[in-house]
Symmetry: C3
Subunit: 257 residues, 3 copies
């Protein structure tokens, strides 16, 4: 039986998350529900997109993801269901889904067009039933009317040249580790045969580790993490607090021959 995941900014002290789950299970009690996170910062599409992008491919193909971050939406925003990299997503078209993959979508419909529901809680009234039906084997096309495109936003880009890579912190995780948008692939190509210096805050570092524990306790580590992204941390410490860096702080790599 298929898996339905939930990503939201609804927190864990209200009825919202349980209401969405109840609606899914009322449609099909045999579905498996898995929380991705309900503690995305309120209306924080960048945070939500980062978490979803980092994990959705770990689920089996065919998994249905309810994406309910800033789901109240804005005027004119559509509710959509789409198939992308063999996963299904239901969401409000607020740009979040446009950030999770560069691949073209395989299928896309607008929800809530036939017999539209006017709801102030669309996660429960529109997204949850659509997700439950998709996970129960209903085809995506039958859930709505075809749509040709959905909202794409431009994510912060890394500037990479032969002389330097200019990136940013894209997520401070709950350990205080600083995850950047600098990819291992680009670094490997550009650093070949070069001496390099990583600069962030007031720190200058000249090596990249391969394990967290290559740094001593209290010392800074820099490595490419399981997402293939450059990550900066303090071994057994909170790097964000100790280095004074946070979301969007610049992280640069300078190459010399």
């Amino acid at each position: 039986m298929a898996i339905v995941t939930l990503l939201s900014d609804s927190g864990d002290s209200d009825h919202y998350v349980a209401a969405i789950k109840a609606r899914v299970l009322s449609t099909n009690p045999g579905l498996t529900l898995v929380d991705i996170s309900n503690k995305i910062a309120a209306c924080d599409i960048a945070h939500g997109a980062f978490v979803l992008k980092s994990v959705f491919r770990d689920f089996p193909k065919g998994t249905v993801h309810i994406v309910a971050v800033d789901a109240g939406g804005n005027k004119g925003y559509a509710f959509i269901a789409l198939q992308l990299e063999d996963h299904f997503f239901v969401s409000v078209d607020n740009g979040l889904l446009g950030l999770v993959s560069d691949k073209p979508h395989q299928n896309l419909v607008e929800l809530n067009v036939i017999n539209p529901v006017n709801s102030t809680f669309p996660e429960k009234d529109i997204l949850a039933p659509a997700a439950a039906r998709l996970a129960s084997g209903v085809t995506l096309s039958s859930l709505g009317t075809p749509l040709s495109s959905f909202k794409k936003m431009t994510d912060r880009h890394v500037k990479a040249t032969k002389k330097q890579i200019l990136g940013h912190v894209v997520r401070v995780d709950s350990f205080g580790n600083l995850i950047t948008n600098i990819e291992k692939e680009a670094f490997d190509i550009l650093s070949k045969g070069k001496v390099y210096t990583l600069q962030f805050g007031s720190e200058k570092v000249r090596r990249v580790h391969t394990s967290y524990f290559q740094a001593d306790q209290g010392d800074c580590f820099v490595l490419f993490n399981s997402l293939g992204l450059l990550e900066i941390g303090i071994f057994k410490g909170n790097a964000s607090e100790l280095l004074g860096l946070s979301y969007d702080s610049p992280v640069n790599i300078i190459f010399e021959e």
Copy 2:
């Protein structure tokens, strides 16, 4: 297979919630467990009652709800199982369940009377096994001895006349939105053909929205939410902080011909 939900003030950093779930699954590993919330404020019956009341009907009929807020109880409080609106509830009789529905109960027993267990963790030792047995098809009557009534508390009432509705904030949700006890039904009747002014904090508002996004970013919205209750918020902002209102703050509606 039936669903067992859990509502508690036990938090998420101790063994309590897992111990309750382990006991349920030890009795019947086929049951589906769903957290309503374990982040009800410690011993806060009003918070717990609001969340439970707002969501229990979204679950399929026959769902069993473990209600373990302030479950340590007080001297002389009984442990009860009851059927209400075709749902089952197991709880300590501390008044919380008396706040979730105006309907008469369909069935009510006192638990832990035959071979009583003396426990400092009754959620696990008394409520969890009773819930698991109920969800497995055991009849409520066979779980305890009949009881004629359970504890009812008087909730804060709304004062509604032709001239005004005087209500209060009953819940500040995790977005900072202010949910009041003013019901759409009463407002619709009393506001018919009238000019009205909503007053809360230092704000005066003369319209009710139907969508969150009818307000501009940073502006105040006022609408009847999915629970049919008047809700005040700041679009993409935290109304509780920005308006200086919190639990129990008065919200009034004045009608003029």
Copy 3:
């Protein structure tokens, strides 16, 4: 179908917990996942060990526990799977598992020896697949190479004589209750026929309660809790804040003839 539990310090606002679960469900979608807690304080082995020790036996025998606290490990730490008290555990050998039971292990292997994976996210890449396979019926011995022992740390001991018991707070729970390492068994033997005084902070108490509600609201209670450990609290209050005690604070019992 077997249960897989998860204990981690990964928090609830990142992709880590969902990634571990996704890997388990990708291996076997029929497994039942239960969170013990993902809010163990970062790298806090004492916190993790206390929670795990307090709850693992409540799960059915054969349950598989993923223990991912401070899982980044240290240089030379092995990944292990072991059978203990008829439960299965997969973890990094950082000492946490050595604190949860005094019983000898029934079986122990080192994971990730044959075709080792070099991962900065071993919870997902090493522990999750091992747990899923164990829960699916694969034998522990076939998961790795035999190991004779795993890391044991010495926990803070209670000093108990005929004159006194000297203990400490080992956990402040989310209610602010202070759980100590003083066991009921020892107290029952040593206090027989004696007058006793409990001392903690500036308090002196001469009785032990059997229910939380034997104290009046705002008053201190002292009882042996469901774990058989001496617990100090304030009825409907936060004892840690009100008494100024926290993790590791001394709690003594003095006996007089």
